[in-house]
Symmetry: C2
Subunit: 235 residues, 2 copies
DNA sequence: CCAAAAGTGTTGTGGCTACACCCATGA
DNA sequence: TCATGGGTGTAGCCACAACACTTTTGG
């Protein structure tokens, strides 16, 4: 194969910021790095890109390795390229963020990587520039969720409106008026009310809803307004 | 230096989608590729990342090589990683898009690369996946400009409101009501009216405005609404 | 005096926010 | 029966979109 001469070839990795929601808090799935350098310190799950893979395929592979899950919401965040970001050898990392239903993960948990869920508000220090990646992912998710119904990716098939509200409130670290919130959400037409109630979290019980998947994929790109006064929350 | 063993190292390039606005049309700056493969075909300006550079530095370098300009608006778009996107050798490309004042460029034009401005609507076929990059950049810019005052980056220091409107209309390939448009733009408080008029484009003449740079940088992240019915335009 | 583009105001409507009370249930 | 969280309606306000005529001036 002909080659471009005189150019430097570099390691390319993908790192995954994995978000989850446990019904009341936003969480992040981290692993305890098993090899030097920085052995035992907390880190995002990552891996090097392989010869025949696209970045997207690599990110999906890495995610599946850790969680066992496929067909997960995954979005390219940004490439990080500080020449010394990895002290061992120059590596460019392309960060992806994933939104997973935390319950699905728990069913398939692998202890191989010493993975743990951390509260997003209460994260350990991470290696390299992983902390920056998480900050950026949070910002991007806030931005995106203000306009598109992406947060449903974090919920199980059935969920209640109070749960959904807790999810938004967790992401934006604030509280919303529940009357306005439920009106706004229901007015999208994305939710289908079920007959059963969730009786675990209150005495009265809250009705379950499911996502209308057809409308969801049709309207995903639509420009909605989920968050009042977005200026306040979107830096 | 210790190294990660058994991993493949890959070429990493940056490619720049360079937008300009000539007062009535949106344009794209392309070069005619000077070497094989695909010699003589039109292409985005790009270059390989160097050992001590970040991607951002590389993109700025590449942009300066072609245009002579520094301190230009430049934003990372996405990494493109199809294993066969470059037939010579596997290369991952990180695309950046740039917004430049076309007049500044014309002052510093370099003929070294056989660069030419093309109408965005009327582009030649590009090599590799550059066509996809341009499409994505257009989409991203439409999205961004609907919410943030980023299009001012394309204008010279003095500009008129009709010019500004033509700029928005070019990007969204539509027409806006001029009364609503000017009211909306002026209500941001970002513009400072000048005393002179531009007499080149009409008999009556249109007042020049300048950008209030302090307010511009303060409000850049603010969540505005420049485009009526954004759903229509933002896929 | 005519053509061509700049500039400017009003009104109706719909969507947003703010706000408070009743309901169902398990303990 | 009481404590807890679920569920619901309204009114005022503001922002938006739709719309047409006058002004300026160069030729």
């Amino acid at each position: 194969m002909i080659k471009y001469i005189g150019q430097t070839r570099i390691l390319v990795a993908v790192d995954c910021i994995i978000f989850g929601f446990d019904g009341s808090d936003f969480k992040l799935l981290l692993i305890q790095r098993g090899f030097a350098p920085e052995k035992k310190r907390w880190s995002l799950m990552g891996g090097f890109i392989q010869p025949e893979e696209t970045l997207e395929v690599a990110a999906n592979r890495v995610l599946k390795q850790l969680t066992g899950l496929e067909d997960v919401y995954l979005e390219q965040l940004q490439a990080f390229s500080g020449p010394d970001r990895d002290p061992v050898e120059r590596t460019i990392a392309v960060a992806y963020f994933a939104l997973i239903d935390i319950h699905k993960y728990e069913k398939q948990i692998s202890h191989e990587y010493h993975a743990e869920w951390f509260l997003l508000k209460d994260m350990p220090q991470l290696i390299f520039d992983h902390g920056q990646m998480v900050e950026l992912a949070k910002k991007r998710l806030r931005y995106k969720a203000a306009l598109h119904p992406v947060l449903f990716e974090l919920l199980p098939e059935r969920f209640t409106i109070p749960q959904l509200q807790a999810l938004y409130e967790g992401l934006y670290e604030t509280e919303f008026d529940k009357r306005n919130f439920s009106r706004k959400i229901l007015s999208t037409g994305l939710l289908v009310k079920q007959n059963e109630k969730d009786k675990e979290n209150s005495r009265k019980g809250a009705f379950y809803y499911k996502l209308d998947k057809r409308k969801y994929s049709e309207n995903f790109q639509a420009f909605l307004k989920f968050i009042p006064n977005p200026d306040k929350f979107l830096v």
